[in-house]
């Protein structure tokens, strides 16, 4: 399967390990990722917060670039980028007036861009490969590791845009972890918000919302939280100490990307999967399951 790949700004910087693990895992599963040449930032929270046209315009340029690659599908492992790209794609398809305006502002034709379909990498893996296909690749099962599958907001919401899984009780990530031999826990916060783009600008919000997520995972007996978004991972990992200080509880919960765990199960080393780059170390957990 050939598909255009949009890493987004985070995967080229803080979330480098998410990029590397996604590429290796997809390669193993027969999903050929072709990075969109010269892609630009999706605009993230900033663009849609302050300027609707800018937000759609920035994503439209990326969609047009995919069309130039002669590909019809694009995937991104970032839930934020996914939300912006797919929102733009849906708006272009539904609103001809807006499309004409954006074409004028950006100075490009969007006829081809309208045909491009966008999906989060979790969706691509689950739909193109599925649980059985993943199981076939597992060499080192995760030995019943108790994991909190954390979908967060934007992989499944808003439902009219995402068109994937259940918006509040998502199961795709749990199924994927089961296929790897892990034991996903039942918990209350799998689709709650971590505080998203407020990491720097209003840290209290992230400490508050992220704290609720960590607490829910702890209460459910999770040994780690599994993320599918660089913002969720960064917020829960980098703010964990601040959350611990505020709540007076030591969580010590590693926040791991689902692709890192897939890679481990496919017998890549923890270092190849960049597990050494997490602030909250997963080493003890991995050793307890004979994976390190």
């Amino acid at each position: 399967m050939d598909i255009a790949y949009f890493p987004g700004c985070s995967l080229h910087a803080m979330a480098h390990e998410y990029d590397t693990s996604t590429r290796l895992v997809c390669q193993r599963l027969g999903i050929n990722l072709y990075e969109v040449p010269d892609w630009n930032c999706c605009g993230a929270t900033a663009a849609h917060s302050l300027d609707h046209h800018l937000s759609v315009g920035l994503s439209s340029r990326n969609l047009a670039l995919v069309k130039d690659m002669n590909l019809k599908q694009m995937t991104t492992p970032c839930a934020g980028c996914f939300n912006r790209l797919k929102t733009a794609s849906v708006e272009l398809k539904q609103n001809d007036d807006l499309t004409a305006e954006i074409e004028k502002l950006a100075g490009i034709s969007l006829t081809g861009a309208k045909e491009v379909e966008v999906a989060h990498t979790l969706q691509v893996i689950m739909e193109a490969v599925g649980m059985e296909g993943i199981k076939e690749q597992v060499i080192k099962p995760l030995n019943g590791m108790k994991l909190a599958a954390y979908s967060g907001c934007l992989i499944t919401r808003p439902r009219a845009i995402a068109q994937f899984d259940d918006p509040e009780q998502p199961v795709a990530l749990d199924h994927l972890l089961q296929a790897l031999g892990a034991q996903p826990v039942h918990w209350s916060h799998k689709a709650e918000c971590c505080g998203g783009g407020f990491a720097a600008s209003d840290t209290d919000i992230v400490v508050d919302l992220g704290g609720q997520v960590l607490e829910a995972a702890r209460q459910a007996g999770a040994e780690a939280i599994v993320a599918a978004c660089p913002m969720c991972q960064t917020n829960l990992d980098t703010r964990q100490r601040a959350i611990e200080d505020e709540r007076g509880i030591k969580y010590n919960l590693p926040i791991v990307y689902f692709t890192q765990l897939m890679g481990l199960a496919f017998s890549y080393s923890p270092r190849q999967m960049g597990l050494n780059r997490l602030l909250t170390s997963p080493t003890t957990l991995l050793r307890s399951r004979g994976l390190s």
């Binding site: 910087a13 010269d38 302050l50 100075g107 998203g196 407020f198 209003d202 919000i205 780059r277």
Partner: protein, 191 residues
């Protein structure tokens, strides 16, 4: 919270122009609101909002534009999309929030959360200049501009040791295209 909000409502003073505007520009019909409050029940940040999502929809119906443009909730909404998915009438509240915030930003309405607005502005500036966001330089710039010189200094050190902070700013080759988009949008606004 504004004391005016609790004054008895005079129906002949209600202005429906904002409601009409949102219907026309955003294709959102707030008249479909049944005031069930499911949006507020699901809202991630209702506990710190000055006006909850259900009240915000009512304020649109009341044409209380001034209140909406200056409300704190505009800058603390995390865009988690829970409200729209729970709404039985599928009223796209996050889109209403974006629309009003954009308007407040253009009109230069002051917010108490200046740092949130500043961060958005700096991020868009980075995209205008290079086409992408370089996280570490953006954070540093934000700390300087918001005068929080020691913010996250310890965390920054830990992240640096993990190789998470790259000092480089990647640049899109066809940056003229991206800048044109920014310029045309700015021109459109002024014109």
């Amino acid at each position: 919270m504004s004391a005016d909000f609790y004054k008895p409502m005079r129906l002949n003073e209600i202005d429906s122009s904002l409601q009409e505007e949102i219907k026309k520009v955003c294709d959102i019909n707030v008249e479909l609101c049944m005031e069930c409050g499911k949006c507020t029940g699901g809202c991630s940040n209702a506990h710190i909002f000055d006006y909850t999502p259900r009240k915000i929809v009512q304020l649109v119906k009341l044409g209380a534009e001034k209140t909406l443009l200056s409300m704190d909730a505009l800058w603390t909404c995390v865009s988690c999309q829970l409200c729209v998915d729970r709404c039985p009438s599928q009223i796209n509240i996050p889109h209403i929030m974006d629309y009003i915030r954009e308007k407040a930003h253009r009109q230069g309405v002051k917010t108490r959360r200046i740092n949130v607005e500043l961060f958005h502005d700096l991020m868009l500036n980075s995209i205008r200049k290079t086409g992408r966001v370089a996280e570490a330089p953006l954070m540093l710039n934000f700390n300087l501009r918001s005068r929080q010189y020691m913010k996250d200094a310890v965390l920054g050190g830990r992240m640096f040791l993990k190789g998470k902070l790259s000092p480089f700013s990647p640049v899109v080759k066809d940056i003229d295209h991206v800048r044109r988009l920014f310029k045309k949008i700015a021109d459109n606004r002024e014109g």
